[in-house]
């Protein structure tokens, strides 16, 4: 600890250089930690659904194709199935095209059985069952459009050639996607002239271990029919959506590493310059009796402090910015819920420590080992 003063004073030797180095490391780690946080959101969502007992059954030909509503009855009869809820994509637009949020029609009798983890209050459920034009809205969409329970809203049909007028009876919370709007399928059916088809069916199974067995039973049951099904566990279904983001995630990570590497090289250059300037002093300290090892630890501590300061500043501000961003906008769909996980925080600090140590390692080792007489000769 008695060496702390030496480290501290040397950091202040050239305040501007130290500050600039800290800032450049901070900026790079800001970018790094923000970019690396992006994919973790996907992983978070996937791990949330990993032990889910829900199955998504949809048309084998793709999500754009529908399946008969009558499939629901047959699915409910399969052993281990507790409930099943049909879901139809309405694709309505609230005000303008850019004001979109996902909206579906669902079975009002089934929702609390299939989505018990969506924290819908019993009163809301009751209202949803009672009022034919009722709808439930995710917290984020409520906030974004300053909606309140009891309010009437109109969604303009984009796939369907009619509009729906809905009354908000409750808010979706818990693990519900915060942007969703759900209304009743019987309303949609009637308005659409009872086509008898739905986008997909959500199936609730009693235990996670029975999920594969039920999936097989559903798909076998509808094999060779006019609308064959493809059933997936909830995590596989959501993972499929995530798949399209995968490349972007990878790019984000790679970009993050490149930025860090680049700044690492810049920091190495700065460290080399700053140590080179002090060769004479280092030689004097060694002639006094400081060992190479002590000198090396002093030099590395300095640059470790610089790295860690940059790291703290960088991921601290990324943490705050992501937090503000997540609260401020809902327009980015699942992306709006990017938070910095503790793992990324730890990774960033480790990265900053590594930048610190490795940027100075080369010049520090050679300065600490350098022949004292030669180095003294250069100052004299």
């Amino acid at each position: 600890m008695k060496y702390a003063v030496l480290v501290f004073k040397n950091l202040f030797r050239s305040k501007r250089r130290t500050i600039l180095t800290v800032l450049s490391i901070a900026v790079s780690l800001f970018i790094f930690s923000a970019l690396v946080s992006v994919p973790t959101v996907a992983n978070q969502i996937l791990s949330d659904t990993a032990s889910s007992t829900r199955i998504a059954a949809h048309n084998k030909a793709g999500l754009a194709y529908s399946i008969p509503v009558a499939y629901r009855q047959r699915i409910v009869a399969i052993p281990h199935v507790e409930a099943a809820m049909t879901q139809s994509w309405f694709g309505g637009v609230y005000h303008e095209l850019y004001d979109q949020f996902p909206n579906f029609a669902v079975d009002h009798e089934q929702i609390e059985k299939v989505y018990s983890d969506w924290a819908i209050s019993p009163e809301s459920i009751e209202q949803f069952k009672k009022i034919r034009t009722a709808c439930l809205v995710g917290a984020e969409t409520m906030k974004r459009f300053h909606l309140h329970v009891g309010q009437q809203i109109q969604l303009k049909g984009s796939i369907y050639n009619f509009n729906v007028t809905l009354q908000i009876v409750g808010v979706l919370g818990g693990k519900a996607p915060p942007t969703f709007l759900l209304f009743r399928r019987d309303y949609l059916e009637e308005a659409a002239g009872r086509p008898g088809f739905v986008s997909m069916i959500w199936v609730k199974v009693d235990k996670p271990e029975n999920v594969p067995q039920v999936i097989a039973a559903i798909d076998e049951g509808f094999a060779n029919s006019s609308a064959e099904t493809l059933s997936e566990s909830e995590s596989a279904f959501i993972g499929g959506f995530m798949q399209s983001y995968r490349t972007i995630f990878r790019m984000a990570e790679i970009l993050g590493f490149i930025v860090v590497l680049t700044i690492g090289l810049v920091a190495a250059n700065t460290a080399a310059m700053s140590i080179r300037e002090r060769r004479g002093e280092i030689a004097v300290m060694r002639s006094i009796g400081f060992t190479s090892r002590t000198i090396l630890s002093l030099l590395l501590s300095e640059s470790l402090v610089i790295g860690l300061l940059g790291g703290l500043l960088g991921c601290g501000s990324a943490f705050i910015v992501l937090k503000l961003f997540a609260v401020g906008t809902g327009s980015m769909g699942p992306m709006s819920s990017i938070r910095m996980p503790p793992l990324v925080l730890a990774e960033t600090l480790i990265a900053s420590a590594l930048i610190g140590v490795f940027s100075a390692l080369g010049p520090a080792v050679s300065a600490a080992r350098r022949n004292i007489v030669d180095a003294l000769r250069m100052v004299a």
Binding site: K2, K9, E281, V284, S287, I288, G289, I372, V373, A380
Partner: protein, 243 residues
């Protein structure tokens, strides 16, 4: 090797190799300096004075021959051991003071004590004593750039003596100073020698230095070409050691 000599060089040769050239910086030099002496090494530029000092201070190695300082043979010592040996036995003073610019006078003087087990309070009292000896107790918190050359050199001397070394080694300590400051520094070294019985080896070009020292060794082209008593009046045995 004889215990009674503070410094004992026997047939020391130091050859520097530069590409295909070889420089014999020291050529078969044998010198014995008894403890408690204040001696000067003089000679033209390039004659090997600094080389000899560096060998005595244990920051350079003899190519052949033996070097013993304070009765301890340092010829074959490992770098790590040599570093701690220097910390205990050698106080170095340079021509250009070589203070650490980012440290105050106090902190510069404290440097060698960081290598000891002394407590913070003990270090403080040692540093204060050393700065009092060089008459700079009132400049403790000044940075080197806030001091004159003479004051900087006095801080450097305080740094050299603070860990109570057996030998002080000074390379042209007055080389960069005006006459008045030079006299002060020489006077200070004499005091250290008289009052604290430090053995002092000083390289100098300054003819005035002869008045202050016990013995003058003259080097030329790496050879020891003369040993004469200084005008201060050398004690009897000084003459006996001259080769």
């Amino acid at each position: 090797m004889d215990e009674k000599y503070a410094i004992d060089l026997e047939h020391v040769v130091r050859i520097y190799k530069r590409d295909e050239f070889e420089v014999r910086a020291l050529d078969d030099v044998t010198i014995q300096i008894p403890a408690g002496r204040f001696v000067a090494i003089m000679g033209p530029s390039g004659s090997g004075k600094t080389t000899m000092l560096n060998l005595i201070a244990g920051i350079d190695h003899a190519t052949t021959g033996r070097v013993a300082v304070g009765g301890e043979e340092i010829t074959g010592m490992k770098e790590r051991d040599l570093a701690s040996w220097r910390a205990r036995h050698i106080g170095l003073v340079f021509q250009f003071y070589n203070l650490i610019p980012v440290l105050t006078a106090f902190e510069n003087v404290e440097l060698p004590l960081l290598l000891t087990r002394l407590s913070k309070a003990e270090r403080r009292s040692h540093v204060e004593t050393a700065l009092r000896v060089v008459n700079l107790a009132d400049r403790m918190d000044h940075y080197p750039r806030q001091l004159s050359g003479g004051q900087e050199q006095r801080v450097a001397i305080a740094r050299a003596i603070v860990a109570d070394p057996t030998i002080i080694v000074a390379d042209e300590p007055t080389g960069d100073l005006d006459a008045k400051s030079a006299e002060e520094i020489l006077g200070l070294l004499v005091d250290l020698n008289r009052q604290f019985h430090k053995t002092i080896v000083m390289v100098t070009h300054d003819p005035r230095a002869e008045r202050y020292v016990d013995t003058v060794y003259r080097l030329d082209k790496g050879l020891l070409v003369g040993t004469e008593p200084g005008r201060r009046g050398a004690p009897a045995e000084a003459a006996a050691t001259s080769a």
